[in-house]
């Protein structure tokens, strides 16, 4: 049986150029690694590795700056969109994006996030929503589902005690300053490809000065959820997606 030759002409897929050789500290199967690849590919395809500045959060992905080979600014917890606002306004020719988790963007950072969106800053926020606080050991997040067990909701999230989860993407869609709001996932190869297209569209939106873009990625945290990576992807499909439905929530051109 003829064998496929391992040579450049036959190459179909490899580690993205802007992903460093550093071994990622993320848990096996963590969605962060997958999304990082897509960001790296989009920046490279746009030819903007020397003109992109990333703003990293506090959370598991605090170390995003070790994995994508561009300049980064580490922000205080929740403040990434305030940091990004200044970076973009002072360097309008650069591509500026934030990469944030659910606690960073929609708990402690809610004010900074809503106002950057309301002002219509020409930046992209990549919002990784896995309904839990991974880095600190699996506590409740604003996006934790009702009934979901976490370190601070050991009996399941009870709305009388802990209130309700909320969808910041839909809230941001109401703001005049936002133009591209989408929700994607990376739990199947087909969804990974859709997420990459969404990230590319968001980056182009920012570069065109068309206003604020949010790419929410519904993601897994197999450590926090206490399931295997494969089981987590299935759990996501059955439990997360009904509440956090995938698709474009807003896609408009800014009015002059």
């Amino acid at each position: 049986m003829a064998e496929v030759e391992i040579k450049k002409e036959n190459l179909v897929y490899e580690k993205p150029k802007l992903i460093t050789d550093n071994v990622m500290h993320y848990c096996p199967g963590c969605s962060h690694g997958t999304v990082h690849k897509l960001v790296a590919e989009v920046i490279d395809e746009l030819g903007m590795s020397d003109k992109t500045i990333g703003i990293s959060p506090v959370g598991c992905s605090v170390f995003a700056y070790n994995y994508i080979d561009i300049d980064w600014v580490e922000a205080a917890h929740g403040r990434a969109l305030a940091v990004a606002t200044a970076v973009k306004r002072l360097h309008p020719e650069k591509m500026v994006f934030t990469y944030q988790g659910d606690g960073d963007l929609s708990a402690i950072g809610t004010a900074e996030s809503i106002h950057a969106a309301a002002r219509g800053e020409n930046v992209v926020a990549i919002y990784i929503n896995n309904a839990i606080y991974g880095m600190t050991g699996g506590q409740m997040a604003p996006t934790t589902l009702l009934g979901m067990k976490t370190a601070t909701t050991p009996y399941g999230r009870d709305p009388r005690l802990n209130g309700y989860p909320y969808k910041i993407a839909e809230m941001m869609a109401h703001l005049d300053g936002t133009t591209y709001i989408t929700r994607q996932s990376v739990h199947t190869p087909a969804n990974v490809r859709k997420t990459k297209k969404a990230i590319r569209k968001a980056f182009e939106n920012a570069l065109a000065g068309n206003g604020f873009s949010l790419v929410e990625v519904v993601a897994t945290c197999n450590s926090g959820w206490k399931q295997s990576p494969v089981a987590s992807n299935q759990w996501l499909e059955q439990n997360m997606l009904p509440f956090y439905p995938l698709g474009d929530i807003k896609d408009v051109k800014k009015e002059d």
Binding site: M1, A2, E3, V4, E5, I6, K7, N10, L11, V12, Y13, E14, K15, P16, I19, V23, M24, Y26, C27, P28, G29, C30, S31, H32, G33, T34, K37, V186, T188, P189, V192, R193, N222, S228, P229, V230, N233
Partner: protein, 75 residues
């Protein structure tokens, strides 16, 4: 008739044995190794290399960029 065949190369030491590639392969090509790498993870490997079409689903979903995919057309 032309046949498209694929093959993958896995970076054993980078692989964390998460298994999402195994679950994503549409042709049941992959399995996790019975042995572990130096970090203690069972790396992914091809159990049915002949079934591989080079679709790159495994590589696309791999969080750690461990998989390189090659594809060749055979007449």
């Amino acid at each position: 008739m032309a046949k498209i065949k694929g093959t993958i190369v896995v970076d054993n030491e980078r692989c964390k044995g998460c298994g999402v590639c195994v679950a994503s392969c549409p042709c049941d090509v992959l399995e996790l190794s019975a042995e572990v790498n130096s970090k203690g993870y069972p790396a992914a490997q091809m159990k049915n290399p002949d079934a591989c079409t080079g679709c790159a689903s495994c590589a696309v979903i791999c969080p750690d960029s461990c998989i390189t995919v090659y594809r060749q057309k055979f007449e």
